[in-house]
């Protein structure tokens, strides 16, 4: 019995045989020739004449070519040899019909390429582990406060105090780190005199010193933050830079370690630079500073928090500890935490804290990413199926043409299984030819998709998600390559199954009987079913695309409460007190409004379509004090007096702020329509009173109602909102909106920035956008889905039309004779044409019905993207039915027209 080593050795010898087959055969022939010649020489020596000796030697030796074949068979691996032979045969036969081969390979490459591109995204975002060592042990804690008033439950940030308390009571954590983020102005110190002082806006993460060890990250230069750094007391802090920030602002100078910079007002010493591969746990963070520096940074976001800093908790589990165990331990800590830190959200007394743990991988997913990827996946899978159906259709048509070849081979004794295998090999060869360029296409496609990706708004606790779609994370890894391989094989089997089955069912008797003029009806039925499937899938995709296009248009047309055309927006931050007093800010606004081409300028505390507006509870309504949260929280806006003009927000009732609003005390407010409707239920709110402070003594008077403005996303419901006048409120606002007469917003922006710089060079201007850009950004995820579905839908429709065309062209060529006879005995050309077109109409109609059924079932996955259009939008369905129907009729009409050109005499003679 040969052992495994012998088996391996045998395999090796066989492999060597495949590489040196020609040499093997040459040597064997030489050896056999030598044998026969030696034998003949011996015979001759024994007295035979030369020719007798040779023939006697040959006789004794046996049939040389049979023996050579036998020897070759011993070396060959049966199935592999057959497969190689089939593959060579397939390549030859594909070369013989280049038109078909090119169409098939190109459509396969596109199909597999696009599908793999989408998989690359899914892989980067959902499958591939995070770039941290033992990332499966990383978890994120979440907390909920019920009833939640300020944040959606899944984005509720932690307070630092609770973090410290909970960390101590969860033994499953090996270590846990706390982090929050804030944007600051970063100024380099010690720049050459005379140089333009630059202020960079950076997103810094405020972290406990153990964040780096929890994540398992090491610095590129210098060191990370240590426990000693965390004890910030001397009025300065240390900072660690990200690689991109180090490159951009510090010229990638390795001497940066030990240099100082100023973060807002706080001097920081740079102690380290992280490598480019480390992007932290959040989007776009470029700097890390100790969490305790928050007290020195005077952060507006954290200063006003009732519970101190707010952030995210990242923990590393002990080896062997489960997420469930950690989750249970956090939950078990809840009663003690509630007792120690009662929830006090603006006096809300009934709220209860609870916490839990989820895996880091799950926490990093933005709520829109999963539906986005699901829609993409379904769309590409449909396109892939249509491509398969198309190629299957083409192969079936080819099979028809090769029926006689198959018949002859069966008659000569070829096994039916062998024929099926050969046809399947041909499909596999096609699939592989398509799959190879698809790998390149997939990489390019994934990068393109990542670049076109919608901008998702970051929120407090959003961890890195879309950042994962950058750079090397899209390079094909083994998962992507395995996916391409599997997809190629599956696709090859999918479109190869029908032709292979057809080949094995070839009936010799029938072929001989009818000489190839009839038969193959079941095959034609197969092709019809494929075409119906194609039409159905294309219809479903097009309905989805139609709904998305309508949603996109609805988003752009929807009433957002301001006129984006001619509007520019700038956000200011930092600086000294120049812009922080109402009077100084009023001066700047007046100067901006006086610039040539500008109509008006105003300031706001919150940018439209930007999200993250300040929310407060409705604490008093007229005479009634509200202890519980009876109403949803109300958006609070602090605006300059002239705010309605700059955004062109209509005033519905009452008046806006004017000189009657004396500064010093908040006496008046405007509310939006939603607030008016919600709080006063149809009664006029003018003159009614409202307070958003639980401890307030004097509620303010409502003097007017303004149109609803979309401060969150366009497709998010408008929150109730209240506007206070900044002069009365005191302090500055950070968003400046100006309205230009000129179409050229760029020039206006330069001038506006100059005015701001002249007033305070330390102010950083960021998030500059025109109104149109703001709307485009807000509609970007809808546009993304609409564009992709449209592209896929149109491609699918084109392929389906080709399918209809192919089936009918085949039908026409099959029934040429019959049509010839019909016309010879007096049928009108038009009636024969109608006969063919009718078939196309039937195919298309059945496909449409199936596709619309599919659309009704499948558009559910789109529901999170639809806006202003019902899922069962009659107009969309009607348009798609007309378009697909017209395409189907056109695809049928082209081959049908050919019928009229049939010469009856010629057709009968054939």
């Amino acid at each position: 019995m040969p052992g495994p080593i012998q088996h391996a050795a045998m395999l090796l010898r066989r492999a060597r045989f495949y590489f040196n087959r020609a040499r093997f055969e040459r040597e064997l022939a030489e050896e056999m020739r030598f044998h026969v010649e030696m034998k003949a020489r011996d015979h001759q020596r024994a007295g035979m004449n030369a020719s007798d000796a040779r023939s006697a030697a040959r006789r004794r030796f046996g049939n040389t070519s049979r023996l050579q074949e036998q020897t070759g068979d011993i070396m060959a691996i049966g199935w592999l040899d057959g497969a190689l032979q089939d593959a060579r045969y397939a390549l030859r036969s594909l070369r013989k019909s280049p038109g078909f081969s090119v169409v098939a390979v190109v459509s396969l490459a596109l199909g597999i390429g696009v599908t793999t591109a989408v998989f690359t995204l899914v892989n980067a975002m959902l499958i591939r582990p995070l770039p941290f060592p033992e990332a499966n042990r990383l978890v994120v804690t979440f907390q909920t406060i019920t009833p939640g008033v300020l944040f959606p439950a899944d984005s509720m940030p932690w307070s630092y105090e609770r973090f410290v308390r909970v960390r101590a009571s969860v033994p499953a954590f090996a270590d846990a780190a706390f982090s929050t983020w804030e944007e600051y102005n970063l100024r380099r110190t010690g720049i050459a005199p005379g140089a333009m002082p630059t202020t960079a806006r950076v997103r810094a993460e405020l972290v406990t010193s153990n964040l780096f060890s929890v994540l398992g990250a090491r610095p590129l230069l210098g060191r990370t933050i240590t426990a000693a750094d965390s004890a910030v007391s001397s009025g300065s802090a240390v900072a660690v830079l990200s690689e991109p920030l180090w490159r951009r602002e510090f010229g990638a100078d390795s001497g940066v370690i030990g240099a100082t910079a100023v973060l807002d007002q706080l001097p920081v010493t740079i102690v380290g630079v992280m490598p480019a591969s480390f992007t932290g746990i959040r989007e776009s963070v470029e700097m890390w500073v100790p969490f305790k520096a928050i007290a020195l940074l005077n952060s507006p976001r954290n200063r006003d928090r009732p519970e101190g800093g707010m952030g995210t908790v990242v923990a590393r589990l002990r080896p062997g500890a489960s997420i469930a165990a950690a989750d249970a331990q956090v939950k078990a800590a809840a009663p003690a935490v509630n007792a120690e830190f009662p929830v006090r959200f603006f006096g809300s007394r009934k709220s209860v804290w609870s916490g839990g743990v989820v895996s880091f991988a799950a926490a990093r997913q933005h709520q829109l990413i999963r539906p986005l990827l699901v829609v993409l996946s379904i769309a590409v899978a449909s396109v892939m199926l249509i491509v398969c159906a198309n190629i299957a259709g083409l192969l079936l048509a080819r099979a028809r043409a090769r029926e006689s070849e198959m018949g002859v081979r069966i008659a000569l004794g070829a096994g039916r299984g062998r024929l099926a295998r050969q046809v399947l090999t041909e499909s596999m060869v096609l699939a592989v030819l398509g799959g190879l360029p698809a790998i390149l296409l997939a990489y390019g496609g994934a990068s393109l998709l990542a670049r076109l990706r919608p901008e998702l708004q970051p929120n407090y606790v959003l961890l890195r998600s879309v950042d994962l779609l950058q750079g090397q994370s899209l390079a094909p890894d083994w998962r992507v390559l395995t996916f391409v391989l599997l997809l190629t094989v599956i696709v090859g089997l999918l479109f190869g199954a029908a032709p292979a089955l057809a080949a094995s069912r070839t009936s010799v008797a029938e072929l001989i009987k009818v000489a190839g003029s009839r038969g193959g009806t079941s095959r034609a039925n197969g092709r019809r079913a494929l075409v119906i499937g194609q039409v159905a899938l294309a219809t479903t995709l097009l309905v989805g695309a139609g709904l998305m296009v309508r949603s996109f248009r609805a988003l752009l047309r929807s009433d957002i409460g301001f006129v984006p055309e001619g509007m520019v927006k700038l956000e200011l931050s930092g600086g000294d007190s120049t812009l922080a007093t109402p009077a100084r800010q009023e001066t700047v606004l007046a100067r901006i409004a006086a610039l040539p081409g500008l109509e008006s300028a105003a300031s706001y505390s919150c940018a439209p379509l930007g999200g993250n507006c300040f929310l407060m509870p409705v604490a008093q309504l007229d005479q009634r004090r509200l202890e519980r949260d009876e109403y949803p929280p109300i958006e609070v806006h602090i605006v300059s007096r002239d705010f309605l003009r700059a955004m062109q927000t209509p005033l519905r009732v009452g008046r806006s702020f004017d000189s009657r609003e004396a500064s010093g005390r908040v006496t008046a407010a405007l509310v939006n329509e939603t607030a008016a409707r919600l709080l006063w239920r149809g009664e006029s709110p003018i003159g009614r009173r409202l307070s958003t402070f639980r401890d307030s003594t004097a509620p303010v008077e409502v003097i007017g109602v303004v149109a609803d403005v979309k401060y969150e996303a366009i497709d998010a419901p408008v929150r109730p909102a209240i506007y206070y006048e900044r002069g009365q409120w005191g302090g500055g606002s950070s968003v400046i909106v100006a309205r230009t007469r000129a179409r050229d917003a760029a020039t206006a922006l330069v001038e506006i920035r100059r005015v701001i710089f002249e007033n305070d060079p330390t102010v950083a201007v960021h998030r500059v956008a025109t109104g149109d850009e703001m709307v485009a950004r807000a509609a970007s995820s809808t546009r993304f889905v609409a564009a992709l579905l449209s592209a896929f839908g149109m491609g699918a429709a084109l392929l389906a039309a080709l399918g209809v065309y192919g089936v009918l062209a085949y039908l026409v060529s099959q029934r040429k004779r019959e049509f010839g006879i019909r016309m010879a005995i007096g049928a009108q050309a038009s009636s024969v044409t109608a006969l063919v077109v009718k078939q196309g109409v039937v195919l298309t109609a059945v496909g449409l019905v199936v596709g619309i059924g599919g659309a009704i079932a499948a558009t559910g996955v789109l529901s999170s993207f639809l806006f202003g259009v019902p899922r069962a939008d009659v107009l969309t369905y009607a348009v798609i039915i007309v378009v697909v129907g017209a395409a189907g009729i056109l695809a049928a009409w082209i081959p049908a027209r050919r019928v009229t050109r049939v010469d009856p005499v010629m057709a009968l003679r054939e």
């Binding site: 030598f34 049939n63 023996l67 011993i74 049966g78």
Partner: protein
């Protein structure tokens, strides 16, 4: 894999005979054929060409190895020689064959 080379030998004995022949030293195919013919005094009628599939199979199994060399008359020929694995195989087959022979003789009553 086709292995049905026609020979008038008992199945499997050709390989044993080749192995036995090669214990003499390295030989080319023709030499093996000559040796078999002479020793059996022409009783064993082997189709000479069937040596070659057999040699190939044995080479695949690692029982023999081959190399090209010169004959005394200065012709190029492929010489086969026994490997240690082939020697072990021969021992096994001889033992097996002996048992078989004894069994046949007992049945035939010729022992």
């Amino acid at each position: 894999m086709a292995t049905n080379e026609r020979s008038d030998l008992l199945p499997g004995t050709l390989e044993m005979l080749i192995l036995k022949t090669l214990t003499l030293g390295r030989l080319h195919g023709y030499g093996i054929a000559q040796h078999l013919q002479q020793l059996s005094q022409d009783v064993l009628q082997v189709e000479e060409g069937s040596l070659y599939p057999a040699l190939q199979r044995m080479q695949l199994k690692g029982w023999v190895s081959s190399e090209w060399g010169q004959t005394p008359t200065n012709r190029r020929a492929r010489y086969y020689s026994l490997t240690p694995l082939g020697r072990k195989q021969l021992e096994q087959e001889v033992a097996e064959f002996g048992r078989l022979l004894v069994a046949i003789q007992r049945v035939m009553g010729t022992s």
